[in-house]
Symmetry: C2
């Protein structure tokens, strides 16, 4: 069915901070509905009565224009701001409040009702670690800088264009993990040994592989009609790299049908790295 | 109070997919509690009865060892797997189920109860756009490659080390936005004009600035005891860059106390780019 023909509903994502928690949640829960198209409207930084009043006007306008009260997903914490929002013509879903009593009872402590805490630079050491990890992953991309590989938390290896770079950056950005990456090249396959540079760090290596057909597509976008992009060359490199990883006892996975998030989650599990949002 | 002295509670983050939604939610909601330390245990990819049984054993062990039933945040969708998890000695919090009836009533359609949809490569065009945006932002970092600036969604400008690179990568990774960045340097301030390369794209420019004291700290970590890192040099560059952005009518913000998420959210709002999770 053509997506454009589905009925449309408007969803407001209202937050006193960046709105990243509410958008992540909304994205996940609305993906369970495929008979409706959702139009998402973001209202981040709603942290004053003034801004809340403007939000109410927008929401009421949408209700009038569409004939449906919009759904509001809210991660608001301030009770006055939230109560004002609830006066709008809407279906109000309070993501935190719904659970907070339950959690308070479970742990025997009250919440502190403070706003926008999850993406604030409240803990500057933690934040600095994250920026350091991003810089580390950038400078250790594709084996370009190798002097500090001893400081890497993980070193992703694999043939050119198998997904090493985006995965490294995601690990750094999301989890402050220093993720280097290092290519396996035809030279390595001819020598039939791991690149000497990474041999000392074998316990940190994790391999990525990919179906040759998909690799050939990706490489063709980058360098059309090159030998590098031929299916024959891709088959050779993938086969040799998998053989090498198997022989060296290096864990690896195929990225062909996986998102960056799925690859990263698996890498963290397999390498046994602690996973804490940065 | 020393964080180590706080009572500790264990929280299990259980998901049939990557667990990114549940960890984002958990991180946000638990930041409301500062009298308890939380130990988070991730159980992603719980998508079979077999894995659910192993999870129940782990959870029960934690309950026995700590004397407290752990809190479970769940984004499980499969009802059999969820019911099995609920047999564990735990406080079970069902993030999706709690709201799904409410949403179903609001929109008049049933959910499809399918698992792990939010971080799957279900929509390969969307996913390809995201990888393209990451590659674009990487290759257009720090003005190194400028041939395709016309394809940029936004071009961040500012002095060296003010936060352009991590913000560009975050915008690409999270929202598939092609974010280039371009430095403002002492040469530009002497000439007293915007770099000629970016003048044609003035409507896409967004400025980042930073307090000179903080900039000097950041630069000192990178190049200790250099002229580049002196407070005097930083004051000069920041003052000149802000003067230039003001004169040219370019929106800008100070990154000094802001996280990548806060900067990105503001950039998207100000530039009027649509914000859709990639």
């Amino acid at each position: 069915m053509n997506n454009q023909l589905l009925p449309e509903r408007t969803v407001y994502l209202v937050s006193d901070g960046t709105g990243i928690t509410v958008e992540t949640f909304s994205n996940a829960v609305l993906s369970q509905f495929d008979q409706v198209r959702f139009k998402e409207i973001h209202l981040p930084f709603i942290c004053s009565i003034e801004k809340a009043k403007e939000a109410v006007i927008k929401i009421n306008n949408t209700a009038n224009e569409t004939g449906y009260p919009p759904i509001i997903f809210s991660t608001l914490v301030n009770i006055d701001i939230m109560n004002l929002l609830k006066t709008a013509n809407c279906i109000f879903i309070d993501l935190f409040g719904t659970f907070i009593n339950h959690i308070e009872q479970a742990i025997g402590h009250k919440s502190n009702n403070s706003i926008g805490r999850s993406h604030m630079v409240s803990d500057s050491e933690k934040y600095r670690n994250r920026i350091d990890a991003i810089n580390f992953s950038l400078s250790h991309d594709d084996g370009q800088f190798v002097n500090q590989l001893n400081k890497a938390d993980v070193i992703l290896i694999g043939v050119s264009r198998c997904g090493k770079t985006p995965t490294s950056l995601y690990l750094a950005m999301q989890y402050a993990i220093k993720a280097a990456n290092f290519p396996l090249t035809p030279d390595d396959f001819e020598r039939n040994t791991l690149p000497a540079t990474i041999v000392p760090f074998k316990s940190k290596l994790f391999g990525l592989s990919i179906l040759p057909e998909r690799l050939s597509e990706v490489r063709n976008e980058r360098r059309p009609n090159s030998k590098y992009a031929t299916l024959e060359q891709c088959r050779y490199e993938v086969s040799e790299s998998e053989k090498m990883m198997r022989r060296e006892g290096i864990s690896w996975l195929s990225t062909t049908t996986k998102s960056i998030e799925e690859i990263s989650t698996t890498v963290l599990q397999e390498i046994g790295l602690s996973r804490t949002l940065a």
